[in-house]
């Protein structure tokens, strides 16, 4: 583990690289897609399990 790669929250948000480009949009959008995909999948399965459990009861 080492020190933080960014000095402030806004820097972490934009993630500006040495070449001057802002890569924050790409990184955060991928993180959002991964998070929401996993969340939706979990919720869908929980809902389907609940429905079929009711049916079986």
């Amino acid at each position: 583990m080492s020190k933080f790669a960014f000095n402030s929250i806004s820097e972490a948000f934009t993630m500006q690289s040495l070449n001057g480009q802002n890569h924050g949009f790409y990184v955060w959008s991928v993180l959002a897609i991964v998070f929401f995909t996993l969340l939706i999948t979990f919720l869908v399965y929980k809902y389907k399990l609940k429905k079929i459990s009711k049916k079986i009861k």
């Binding site: 790669a5 690289s17 990184v27 991928v30 993180l31 897609i33 991964v34 399965y45 049916k55 009861k57």
Partner: protein
């Protein structure tokens, strides 16, 4: 004793009881490991000299890509077990893993496309590994639609197992495509035989995110298999007692 331990899992009832007990522990542990690794990768690792900060997508893309292929390998093994030994649970697992595999392949494709924009200047390239991953995604969709199109579950299980085994030739093609064809895609940084080409400060969170993501996918497979067992065994008396 080991044989007895393994054999008991051939029963959907035992499997269901055991995974339900293990599920909370696996879920909490994997979520913790994943979150810590992602945080470590996003905020505590230094910038890459060539790719800048966009390389941090590696902690999201690589686990998904690895798992999508590993899940297909798992399906192939389960299909072989089902066809040879007629273990019912294997058939249930093959059916349950397919949607999760499609989801992880989808994540791999989307994250890879977005990563391609700052790295290669394009979100898509007709490159060997990218196309092979797209083929894998279409295969997962084909597997799901094949099983769902048959009302007779026994027939559907057999056909699904056969198709999984025939389609498993695609996995080595994806794995080796990076060496066989000159490609835009980065070659493997972590191999079994050689030292990793990635710096240790970036490697450890990558391992952590792979372990964490694997755990999360295992939890999803447990939920999916639970659902499928409920559907298939709903007329059995033990299910009513369980629920």
């Amino acid at each position: 004793m080991i044989k007895k331990f393994i054999h008991q899992f051939a029963s959907p009832k035992t499997y269901l009881f055991q995974v339900t007990r293990a599920y909370p522990y696996i879920f909490v542990t994997s979520i913790l490991i994943y979150i810590i690794s992602i945080f470590w990768g996003l905020f505590l690792t230094p910038e890459d000299f060539v790719q800048g900060n966009s390389y941090r997508i590696i902690y999201l893309h690589v686990p998904a890509s690895f798992i999508s292929q590993a899940l297909y390998g798992g399906m192939a093994i389960a299909s072989a077990i089902f066809l040879i030994w007629k273990v019912k649970l294997s058939a249930y697992l093959v059916k349950s893993i397919a949607p999760i595999g499609a989801m992880t392949t989808f994540i791999a494709l989307i994250s890879g496309s977005i990563w391609g924009i700052p790295t290669w200047g394009t979100w898509w390239a007709w490159d060997a590994r990218i196309v092979s991953t797209l083929i894998l995604f279409i295969m997962y969709l084909g597997l799901i639609s094949l099983h769902d199109s048959f009302a007779n579950y026994e027939k559907a299980d057999k056909f699904l197992a056969v198709l999984v085994l025939v389609g498993s030739v695609n996995i080595p093609i994806i794995k080796m495509s990076v060496e066989w064809w000159s490609t835009l895609h980065q070659s493997a940084s972590i191999t079994i035989s050689d030292k990793p080409t990635i710096d240790p400060s970036m490697l450890y969170p990558l391992f952590g995110s792979m372990i964490g993501f694997t755990g999360i996918v295992v939890c999803l497979v447990i939920l999916s298999s639970k659902l499928h067992i409920f559907v298939r065994e709903k007329n059995k008396s033990w299910i009513k007692d369980y629920v």
